[in-house]
């Protein structure tokens, strides 16, 4: 009997490994920046190019940094969720307009709604590199002390928002 049980056991273990492995998303690479201070920058704002914004300006607040672009298809998918989130006023969202044209970006916000407290412009993608951005949209949750607590790679879904982001925001705001 063991003659058959052993190969069957090995086969089941193998199938389990493959099932787990195939269900993982290879695009979701854990960010080494979690728990570390959000990289500093100073970038011009989208609506007022002469004004600048730095992460320190949000010191003492829990906030979201959402990397978006008008050329980004999945950004459109998450956008209504962000617009709804902005209406609740639970957490300020700062938009990082990544490698985009100002005119296109403004047009895009006019058309789909502007959930952002403010947007900043990273035309060359250098700040994106500092934040380890490799697939727009990406969203960072930054705490009162300015440390990154969570990173969402790809669009924010209702599920992620309700189960992960909002509970974490509530906890960090305590």
């Amino acid at each position: 009997m063991t003659r058959f049980l052993l190969p069957l056991g090995i086969f089941i273990v193998l199938v389990a490994f493959l099932a787990i492995g195939l269900n993982l998303n290879p695009r979701e690479v854990p960010s080494p920046l979690i728990g570390k201070p959000a990289p500093a920058f100073s970038l011009p704002r989208l609506h007022q190019p002469e004004a600048k914004f730095a992460p320190q300006d949000m010191q003492g607040k829990v906030w979201l940094l959402n990397v978006w672009a008008s050329w980004c298809v999945s950004c459109r998918q998450e956008h209504p969720i962000l617009v709804e989130l902005a209406k609740t006023g639970l957490v300020p969202i700062v938009g990082l307009n990544y490698k985009d044209q100002r005119a296109d970006a403004l047009k895009w916000l006019d058309r789909f709604g502007d959930p952002y407290t403010l947007s900043i412009v990273d035309a060359e993608g250098r700040v994106g590199i500092d934040y380890g951005v490799y697939g727009v949209p990406e969203t960072y949750l930054i705490d009162k002390a300015g440390a990154i607590r969570f990173k969402q790679i790809g669009p924010v879904t209702q599920d992620v928002l309700e189960k992960t982001i909002l509970p974490l925001v509530a906890e960090l705001n305590k």
């Binding site: 290879p26 695009r27 490698k99 993608g125 590199i129 951005v133 490799y134 697939g135």
Partner: protein, 172 residues
């Protein structure tokens, strides 16, 4: 009316030559603009070092390509970044640390040996060893199971005859 293909291609070639000549003229008149396009990429030593570094790095946008080979937008930005860091006199290790600090060990095709990567480095060898051990155990068990046959003198004689018969039949 259709023109023969040859004159078509000749005209094409003529146009290409003309275009090339125009480009050459423009660049001869204004060499500064040509230089501005890619200042560091023209330095062969920098480019060579950049390629050796980026060949060791994974492009996160298209994960099966190295940063050196990828044509993704991000890969181009990162190559630019690395060129600049070489220009600033940073060592290879500093540049690697810069990349790993932002994108994690996953960017390296040869991740460092540490707790979380032990299974990655030694897992295949462990599996191989387990396989060899299993094979040895099975072979030993089998050898024990097939006990030497105890033949009587008569059976021995019969067997030898049969073997001889077989041999003679095999001879041409």
């Amino acid at each position: 009316m259709k023109k023969p293909l040859t004159t078509e291609t000749q005209r094409h070639r003529g146009f290409l030559c003309f275009a090339l000549l125009c480009v050459l003229c423009v660049s001869a008149v204004n060499p500064v603009s040509a230089k501005e396009a890619a200042p560091l990429a023209q330095d062969e030593a920098v480019e060579k070092r950049m390629v050796t570094i980026t060949e060791e790095l994974r492009c996160l946008v298209c994960q099966n390509e190295s940063l050196a080979a990828s044509r993704a937008d991000l890969a181009q930005d990162l190559r630019r970044e690395i060129r600049e860091q070489i220009g600033q006199g940073k060592s290879d290790k500093e540049i690697l640390d810069f990349m790993v600090g932002r994108y994690g060990d996953f960017v390296r095709y040869r991740p460092p040996l540490k707790g979380t990567t032990l299974l990655l480095w030694f897992g295949p060898f462990a599996l191989l060893l387990a396989g060899v051990a299993g094979l040895v155990i099975i072979l030993r068990r089998r050898a024990r199971r097939v006990a030497p046959a105890n033949l009587s003198a008569e059976e021995q004689k019969k067997a030898e005859e049969l073997l001889k018969l077989g041999e003679s039949e095999l001879k041409p």
